[in-house]
Amino acid sequence: MPGVDEIFPFFGWSLFSKVPNLESRYWIVIDRHDGRPVEPPVSFLQAPESIVTGNRWVARKVIQRLGRAVDDGRTEDVEGLRRLLEHNYLKGRVRYELLFERYQPLDKWKTGESRERRRLASFDSGDSNEDQGPR
């Protein structure tokens, strides 16, 4: 809901307030861990515990914020969110791609098709130099 945010512990309790007619999400795919390629590349939520640590569902929300920050070009926020993600939810040196997709939930569930899909960036948790991919 626009205009609704929260200041812990105050919250508007707007949960699943609208039917998702068109949904969008950011997610990351890990393709390299501690110098070795991850074959096939694995999504953050499906990654083994040797790569991902902590609460994945909390981390998923950090990934959404990171994706929005990259999309909006907020460099400082991107750096902060990367540190938060990489220090608390990734183990060792990890290279990952940040992706975006938009889809109609029922269509995607039945056919696997998305309306839009793009790669936003590739990051390496070992350093903060990102290779900005095609937008």
Binding site: S17, K18, V19, V62, N88, P105, K108
Partner: protein, 338 residues
Amino acid sequence: MKTKGRVEAVAAFFRPRPAVPGAGRTALLASRERFLSAQALIVAFYAVLLFFALSNLFSWQDYLNATELTPRWPLFWLRFVDIRSGIAFILWFHLLGGFLGVTLSGYRFARILVFCSWLEFLALRYSFGSINHGDHLGLLLTFVLIFLPPGWSSRPTPTRYLRTATLLVFSGCQALIMLTYSMSGMWKVGGVVQQALEGEVTYLAPSALARQVAAKLLSDESSGILGPWLIEHSWAGWPLMIAALYLEVFALWAVSRPSLHRGWGLGLILLHVSTHLTMGVGFPQNPLWLALFLVLSPFRPQPPRWRQALRDLPLLGRWLGPSGIVAGAQKHEQKEEA
């Protein structure tokens, strides 16, 4: 004049009908038996908080190893101290809060410390990039319970004032729990209006729940337990969705109608069970608070009066009442009582 009439009509809609007469309501709040029941439930609440504090010991090492966090406002002081020492203080304070709740909850200062310990601990938990809302109710309840009257837990012969004040605070806890559900329901009603105006599918459509479930499972990359079946049989979700909306929107209404406490509490617990089985959304603490404060409510009639409960149902009760179905049964109940 017309506006005044409308306001009165709205107020009358939300006001409990005099099924429980004024004198009866006062007796409800001054009842010794209900006071003892509320007392036991509040003690149980603090015991559960100790259990949670002890369960959180398993996460201490993770918190102590944390180096990167974005502290929430209750942790503003962390910037002035060594971060590891600050986190250690929060964890010990949290554990102390658990013990204070079960040993000294008769004292207001201890209840304030319990609230502060939970506020600090949850602020720490939510300083890693995201806030979950499953713990909020417990924290808010510790706040309301600060206002319990002195002597609520120890006085061997509770005065009428003590009984009434304790039961009023208990009732405040019930209202707070139900308020959060009603707020959630009102947002959904707002969403229905907005999406209807925009020509989109709304929660009143048979496929609404299937869409919500599919969206959640896809974003979580999860398959769920009953989710895939519900998506394939979207018609089955329609009555569930309408029932969920009804339970949420009118949750606050149920607080002033003791006959609905048990049913509403159970209904909302089932709502959590179904959202977990279909979407994987877990609010494990909420069913516990619903069980303690609503299902086991000290105000609920014993034995249960299902006819009264039917008559008290929002919208439907008004419709059922004059039809004679429940009114007749009500007369029968009153006769029995006489």
